[in-house]
Subunit: 163 residues, 2 copies
DNA sequence: TTGGCGACGTTATAACGTAACATTATTGGA
DNA sequence: TCCAATAATGTTACGTTATAACGTCGCCAA
């Protein structure tokens, strides 16, 4: 059994290298078990997405890759993003034309994204009550996909450092 | 007292000219009472958005305007859209880079958009339970804006005409 | 009547995303 | 092993969505 985190928001001063490294390690494992090819560019794009807990744009990723000496075209990045999206390793944030790493790609799940407008941090939650309420609010409508992106101010930004 | 509609989805064969005309008339009235300038291009863009209950893209609007002899640049359309968004006459559908008319701009409200992938019709609902569930699911997070876009198949497309 | 301001025009460009086709890599079977 | 099928990537070109910057026009109020 895993402990439930007090908040879905990572602390601003947590050691993020762990997040990134573990996300990539898990993707590696998952791809192996699912017979998916976790190629170099897919790994590099996933790593770029996980550079922080903030949304990252496709061209930011492209710039990051090419800054390291590569010379990729946008297509290469978009293809890798498509792979990562289809297999649940990342989520798209439509309201920002950007992408964020999924913290638990092992299982299919709904997600509601909480986006802090101050620090940019995104927290992913999966609230069954929200899903139920939506279903109840749309009688007769066969729900297939949900885009739920909530902007506001995260607990860390509310309590501390209101510079 | 107004009757509660059985469904938020307009019937496929309703008389839509009424929707469009009444939306524009209400915008006119509201702008007057709020001392907002409902200029010709703003009216034309609102009318283009209300051409149907499906999302309309900015460049579709531009094309529609220019097809009638005008010669507007994209900026003109985006500025009108900004005005209409800020004043609640339309909503943005982020997941489709498009816009939809708001059926009740008189009052501020939350909205959850139900989008039929078959016929393209969008229904706007405002479910208090959904809003409450979201708030409860994000303790400590100060919600400011919600982007809730649900795709699926609407009641009309489910029941009839599965050609 | 004129100054301030909001709206609009105009030009250019940034930012985001995809089509189409060639080439290379991987894999599994003959 | 070698081949054929398939998956992934490279490459070029283009389509779509959105904004920056600055000039002009017109309204209204001091
Ligand atoms: Zn982290
Ligand atoms: Zn924050
Ligand atoms: Zn209608
Ligand atoms: Zn429908």
């Amino acid at each position: 059994m895993s402990r439930r985190p007090r908040s879905a928001f990572p602390s601003p001063d947590h050691d993020h290298r762990g997040c990134s490294a573990s996300a990539i390690a898990r993707a590696e494992t998952l791809c192996a078990s699912r017979k998916l090819r976790f190629t170099a560019i897919r790994r590099a794009v996933l790593k770029a997405v996980w550079q922080s807990h903030s949304p990252v744009g496709a061209y930011d990723i492209l710039a990051k890759l090419n800054a390291k000496g590569a010379d990729h075209a946008p297509m290469a990045v978009y293809r890798a993003l498509d792979f990562l999206l289809e297999n649940g390793f990342i989520h798209r944030i439509s309201s920002q034309n950007a992408f964020i790493g999924c913290p638990h790609p092992e299982t299919e799940h709904d997600s509601q994204l909480l986006i802090c407008r101050r620090c940019g941090t995104v927290a992913e939650i999966d609230s069954a009550p929200v899903t139920r309420a939506l279903k109840a609010a749309a009688p007769g409508f066969a729900i297939e996909q949900r885009t739920i992106e909530i902007s506001g101010v995260c607990p860390h930004c509310r309590s501390g450092a209101h510079a």
